[in-house]
Amino acid sequence: MPEEIKLMKGNEAIAYAAIRYGADGYFGYPITPQSEIMETLMDEMPWETTGMVVLQAESEVAAINMVYGGAACGKAVMTSSSSPGISLKLEGISYMAGAELPGLIVNVMRGGPGLGTIQPSQADYFQTVKGGGHGDYRLITLAPASVQEMADHVALAFDLSFKYRNPAMILSDGVIGQMMEKVKLPEQRARRTEDQVRQEQTWATLGKPDNRKPNIITSLELDSSVMEKNNQRFQAKYKLIEENEVIYEEINCEDAEYLIVAFGSAARISQKVVDLARAEGIKVGLFRPVTLWPFPSKRLNTYKDKVKGILTMELNAGQMIEDVKLAVECNVPVEHYGRLGGIVPSPTEVFEAFKSTFIK
């Protein structure tokens, strides 16, 4: 059978991948530049085929709390939004982390702050990997750099979120969401039956049989000594994720004298910058974190005695650069180049910035 390859937008790939993953529900609210996700789902009517529930909520706040409710029942549920909408969802995300609920949140980032712009940006890095919502929690964060990864990360994010009972985010941006590329969609998987959910998610609130105690999904604990233990349990889990789930990509890094560190759409631009540099005989490599949390700090640390300089290229004022500096323990000069407010730089522009920073 020939491979099934289709041409589509990143946002559409998210929708198709969710149906094919066997997701149980999607709850969302329209916002540019990600509305195609819900539009595609509504057009596909998966409730007629897989039984997946798709609902347009009255707000971002309602949508994330629908995800909370669905996840509490052990279901694979998701929402998607763009930056201002994600700000509204942070309450719910913090509650999900506190109640240890799985679930997928997609952020197709646009420029901020405030209502900002509908053009692409990566300015929600801090919001995503440093908290955003209240309390000591972590959000598993995947940064796709292609339409194919938009599709692939749906299953990866769901699987990780169920493995660790923690919400996971696909942190994309307007470039990856809107651009069209070829994509190979995953095979259709069946949605899990209630019996399977009851067996695998023994904590799920699906109605209490007489032979077990009530399942209670809550993030509340008024006894500080117990709440500290809960937090210690979360921290132990986060450590486990940091040890086991780091993903990154290295392009031309073996002999590199300089590194560009970039994620998502910035990594796509930077890949071309590496080619431009190599054509001029400058040994530049691209290091692309795929998981932004857990951050590939250990791997980046191995470059601290190998390279002369690192440029982080981000569509923001310099956010990931802090994690890169920590990773190399400031043993290497780390500089930042980025554009703000929805401007996407060209590879030539980035290459010139790189040269003026490190080559002179």
Partner: protein, 254 residues
């Protein structure tokens, strides 16, 4: 009859509902929550729904409802219970899903979620406790606080110019096509409890029969928040709350 005779099972006339566990309740003496919990537990058990029921607890005094009823519970963020219940029910259409919310949760911070869940006609029951005050946080003004009523955040009495009017949210929900049954009850007398339980059962039946959203408002007492004895609270409720929130069926198309 001697004691031995009295305690024979066949002479039993009343017992704690099977679905109420032995955890000591944190509710204050004279509070309506305990009685409403009891009739919710009785209705679930009498309808044979204990293995199918998912309760959604609010933020407020009833945040710990999950400690008292022996069923599965989801504790929602403040005001978000109807959204949480929406997903729980849509993903599990054969389950009985209800929310249990206070006036601040339902009619202030969660107004949007309440109205839209009702407007979509979600097949859930909303148990609404209206005691005109924020109990858990120490007696602040609620959306349903009466005019001139004193609370910690309207210490000179609720004043229209400053605070607006008491929100009769159930009357507002009547206007929505998605609602099926809306009624206002109390639990301050045995007769009232019996009537309230009947309406609660009807609401649960509506949800299982997919007839839309049912809202049972309980005009309730908060002795601690009102700074009254339980007996004074009941009297004050009848004299002051009921004229603003009259009892009875506001809508029934079940």
């Amino acid at each position: 009859m001697d004691t031995k005779e009295i305690i024979k099972p066949e002479n039993l006339v009343y017992q704690k509902p099977r679905l109420m566990n032995d955890n000591p309740m944190h509710y204050c003496p004279g509070c309506s929550h305990g009685v409403v919990h009891k009739i919710v537990a009785e209705v679930i058990d009498e309808m044979g729904l204990s293995e199918k029921t998912i309760g959604v607890a609010p933020v407020g005094c009833a945040v710990f409802a999950y400690n008292y009823l022996d069923i599965d519970w989801i504790e929602a963020a403040h005001g978000r219970a109807p959204a949480v219940a929406t997903a729980a029910k849509r993903l599990n259409p054969d389950k009985m899903v209800f929310t249990y919310q206070g006036d601040g949760d339902l009619a202030a911070i969660g107004t949007a979620e309440t109205i839209h869940a009702c407007n979509r006609g979600e097949n859930i029951v909303i148990v609404f406790i209206n005691n005109a005050i924020y109990g858990m946080t120490g007696g602040q003004m609620a959306p349903t606080t009466l005019l001139d009523m004193k609370t910690a955040t309207c210490p000179y009495g609720r004043n229209v110019a400053l605070n607006g009017y008491p929100l009769k949210i159930s009357d507002l929900l009547v206007q929505l096509e998605g609602t099926c049954l809306i009624t206002r009850e109390t639990v301050h007398t045995a007769a009232a409890i019996r009537k309230a339980k009947k309406m609660l059962r009807k609401a649960f039946e509506n949800a299982m029969n997919k007839k839309g959203t049912s809202v049972i408002e309980f005009v309730s007492t908060c002795s601690s928040g009102w700074k009254m004895t339980p007996d004074q609270s009941n009297k004050w409720m009848v004299e002051n709350m009921l004229p603003m929130y009259p009892l009875g069926v506001l809508k029934d198309k079940s």
